[in-house]
């Protein structure tokens, strides 16, 4: 029991320790400006990690997403800046490109039975090359002149304080309603219902967290739009993985692919679906991260595949598939982002940052292997 509690608390403790360390070294770390920046960066890493999560659940991997993020952001930037497309149209175009590319990649993996590691490693290089071709090794801003458009606003728009607070309260109420309804449904079917006190505590904690987050954001400029994108992605992935057959099949395939086939699961279709969804999150991440750096340049998206994988694995997703939760991924992304953001704030040299990232990734995988043996 104690061991289990410790396992559940390990991530929050690690997160608090990391934040305390950085806050101690640099007080600005917990300042409203940096916290808001951290939230934007967290939204970017988290969204990509949620896509990666569904791939890892099936026991597959996708190493191409970092290059893909650059490519898709780059396509949208070129369409806006050089072709003069309206931002929504440009983003839709790039989005379709991502969907097509990842669906094709998924189809290639399942139909030709080539390991995803190889196909996506090829994708990493091919997409990188295509990316540089598309932006012609230059810097393409996401908006013309100083005007704002939907693209540039992705990481610069903040919800007005009042609307943010209203939204937080609405979410808190909705959380309570959903919990109450699921309890009622279980009770109506004569299934055991957890004690009221537990449910109430959970609701109070989650409601307080949502409202508290908004209050912190409102100290600076309000809830960043990117956080809403992450939230929408997280809710969607949570629903897909916990409440639909598709999600069950992801876990089943990762747990035992042969048994999944014999259980009547259309394994190929599910895997292609997982890659298509990966494409969707790559597009969202591509737009956000390109907007965050203000322009598409050759380094956008570099190594993001590793951050996404690290976030998943830190959050308890098994690399061999079949195990993991959305909550874990969110926490893992938060830990990765806090580390990177804190090191940037402390002006840690880039070479040291690389080493730190590598150490964290290795430690996470080592833990995954240890846990997998139990």
């Amino acid at each position: 029991m104690n061991a289990k509690l410790l396992k559940n608390l390990a991530m929050p403790i690690a997160l608090v320790a990391i934040c305390a360390f950085f806050a101690f070294r640099e007080h600005a770390f917990l300042g409203p400006r940096n916290l808001t920046q951290l939230i934007v960066e967290f939204s970017i890493t988290g969204t990509l990690a949620l896509g990666m999560f569904m791939i890892l659940l099936t026991g597959q991997i996708d190493l191409s997403v970092g290059s893909g993020v650059g490519l898709i952001g780059g396509i949208a930037a070129v369409l806006v800046f050089q072709r003069g497309w309206p931002a929504p149209a440009a983003m839709l175009g790039a989005f379709v490109a991502a969907l097509v590319l990842w669906t094709l990649m998924g189809a290639l993996i399942v139909r030709q039975r080539i390991p995803s590691f190889i196909i996506t490693l090829g994708g990493l290089l091919i997409f990188k090359g295509l990316f540089w071709l598309v932006i012609q090794n230059s810097t393409i801003p996401v908006a013309r002149g100083d005007e704002d458009n939907l693209y540039s606003l992705l990481t610069t728009y903040y919800l007005p304080a009042r609307i943010g607070l209203g939204l937080a309260i609405a979410v808190a109420v909705a959380l309570g309603l959903i919990q109450w309804r699921s309890r009622a449904a279980r009770a109506a079917h004569g299934l055991p219902v957890p004690p009221v006190a537990d449910a109430a505590t959970r609701w109070i904690v989650s409601a307080a967290a949502v409202v508290g987050l908004v209050v912190v954001c409102n100290n600076f400029r309000g809830i960043p739009l990117s956080l809403l994108i992450l939230a929408a992605t997280a809710v969607t992935v949570y629903f897909l993985t916990r409440h639909t057959p598709f999600g069950r099949y992801l876990y089943a395939i990762g747990g035992n692919e042969e048994a999944a086939v014999l259980s009547g699961i259309a394994v190929n279709r599910v895997l292609i679906g997982a890659y298509a969804l990966m494409g969707v999150t790559v597009a969202l991440t591509g737009f956000m991260t390109t907007a965050y750096s203000g322009a598409s340049t050759t380094t956008v998206g570099d190594l993001m595949e590793l951050d996404a994988i690290a976030a998943c694995v830190i959050g308890g997703t098994a690399l061999k598939g079949g195990r993991g939760t959305v909550w874990g991924v969110i926490f893992g992304a938060l830990i990765m982002t806090a580390l990177l953001n804190g090191m940037t704030l402390l002006a840690v040299a880039p070479e040291i940052k690389f080493i730190a990232r590598g150490v964290v990734l290795t430690l996470a995988v080592w833990m995954d292997v240890k846990l997998g043996k139990k």
Partner: protein
């Protein structure tokens, strides 16, 4: 009687939430073969782990004595030093090393710093010869058959001066001939004074080798019987705690039902471009009927089932008609939707997602039944259905949220069957449904087959055990080398005829 070689008294072992052993009494005399019998989960493995130091001294209550002195093993090494050697189904042999190296693993004869290879091979050759084994000491273990590996392990244990051999299901993977060799050797060792604890599900084997039998049930030692005073049915009665009138309680359905499956001149190759493996297979299957398929290993029984289900082979010719519909190039998904299910023989590989809960596995093939608007699974409805199957199949676990991988073989089999039956099939194919499961669970599977046919469903049963096949089938088709070797109505069942057909010999005319 002399002082027992091993004597256990009041052994109690607790795991969180489970009482694995309760006040177990057990006694082993020198030169005795003592069988341990019990259903899966009765406590046999726990007892062995305790006697062999895997569960160390202090983690259990009660004590056991060796030669009259209390033993306190803290590790397997302690037990080995006291002369207890455990031989399990998972071999402790290194595949890439030679037989001699394996026998002397960790204690190779040395000359200075070097391994004395000549001496090692000489001693290994003598040991093998003493044992009557025609194996070269230099042979890599990888090249040995399962039976030979088992014997090599025993040779190693003997050479370590083991006085107690513990054999856990030693014959599960052996052919009949290998079993005979193994039993011969055990008898010889017994004559030399080695004692043996013998665990097996195969009761006829136990009766042919053991001197005494101790029956465990629910963690308690129920009875210790001398083989001369015991009968198989008495042992079974102790094992399951109730009388078993008939081992194979087949109740044929009222009358022939409608045609469910018709197979006509089916020819199937493993992969495109290869010659046919299954050849000219034709049969019909009606509702309410159990059609048994028998045959030797590699006769194509599993392949036939897997092909009908859509999981194996490339069809070269022939036709399959399932409930009036042509069943061509199906996937398992198509088959399940058309009412044809398969419960595979290899539960862990093909049947279950071991890491997930029982409920997750039960409903995995039937999620469509619970999917509501927006693609959402109605989880309360799903859990109620899961619970109904969990209860009616009498899965032994706290609830449906327990991990499938933690269940015993028989209970895993029940989950596999539950998953297949939840899809509401009309044709149920069972591939070795009772392999490796205990007597009580077997009976439950047989009752389930009766229930299915009483509901008008059709059942295909594949089994390697002829008594089971003859006991539970209404009709039997023997496969021989990918062809039909013979078809028999219930009135014509006899072991001799079935075996002759399995070996592809001409069937003596019954006239």
């Amino acid at each position: 009687m002399s002082v027992p070689l091993l004597e256990a008294c009041g052994l109690t072992k607790r795991f969180p939430g489970v009482l694995a052993l309760r006040e177990v009494k057990f006694e082993l005399q020198p030169g005795e073969i003592h069988a341990l019998c019990g259903e899966n989960g009765a406590g046999k493995s726990t007892l062995i782990k305790l006697l062999s130091g895997i569960h160390p001294h202090g983690s259990y209550e009660g004590e056991f004595r060796i030669d009259g002195t209390p033993a306190a093993f803290h590790s397997i090494r302690d037990a080995e030093r006291a002369g207890i050697a455990v031989i399990t189904q998972e071999f402790a042999l290194v595949d890439d090393l030679s037989v001699a190296e394996n026998i002397f693993l960790g204690r190779a004869p040395r000359r200075g710093l070097r391994v004395d290879w000549l001496e090692m091979h000489r001693r290994a050759a003598r040991l093998l010869a003493d044992f009557g084994l025609a194996i070269e000491p230099e042979t890599p273990v990888r090249q040995l058959g399962i039976g030979q590996k088992q014997l090599v392990e025993i040779v190693r244990a003997i050479d370590k001066k083991s006085r107690v051999l513990v054999l856990d299901e030693p014959t599960a993977a052996l052919t009949e001939q290998e079993v005979a060799v193994l039993l011969d050797h055990l008898r010889r060792l017994r004559a030399q004074g080695t004692a043996c604890i013998y665990i097996s599900h195969k009761l006829d084997e136990v009766f042919s080798i053991a001197d005494r039998i101790t029956v465990l049930r629910d963690g308690a030692s129920i009875a210790t019987l001398g083989v001369r005073d015991a009968t198989i049915s008495l042992v079974i009665k102790h094992m399951v705690g109730r009388e078993i009138a008939d081992l194979f309680p087949r109740r044929p359905a009222a009358g022939p039902g409608t045609l469910q499956l018709a197979v006509h001149r089916l020819n199937v190759a493993p992969t495109p471009g290869r010659p046919a493996w299954l050849r000219e297979i034709s049969f019909e299957l009606h509702g309410g009927e159990v059609l048994g398929f028998g045959g030797l290993m590699g006769a194509g029984r599993t392949e036939l089932l897997m092909h009908l289900f859509g999981a194996w082979g490339h069809r070269l010719g022939g036709e399959v008609v399932l409930r009036g519909q042509i069943h061509a190039r199906p996937t398992p998904r198509d088959s399940i939707r058309r009412g044809l299910v398969l419960a595979s023989e290899d539960r862990r590989r093909y049947g279950l997602i071991l890491e997930q809960e029982i409920g997750f596995n039960l409903s995995l093939s039937s999620l469509r039944q619970f999917t509501r608007a927006g693609g959402r699974i109605d989880q309360p409805a799903e859990q109620i259905r899961n619970r109904a199957f969990f209860d009616s199949l009498r899965v032994k676990a706290p609830d449906q949220h327990a991990r499938a991988g933690g269940l015993s073989g028989g209970n895993q089999q029940k989950v596999v069957l539950g998953k297949a039956l939840m899809t509401e099939p009309t044709v149920v194919m069972l591939d070795e449904p009772t392999r490796g499961i205990d007597v009580g669970a077997k009976l439950e599977v047989y009752e389930l087959i009766n229930r299915l046919t009483a509901e008008g469903k059709a059942v295909i049963l594949v089994s390697s055990e002829l008594p089971e096949l003859m006991g539970m089938s209404d009709r039997i088709i023997m496969l021989a080398d990918g062809r039909i070797g013979g078809e028999f109505a219930r009135a014509d069942f006899s072991q001799e005829k079935l075996l002759a057909a399995a070996m592809g010999r001409a069937i003596p005319s019954a006239a």
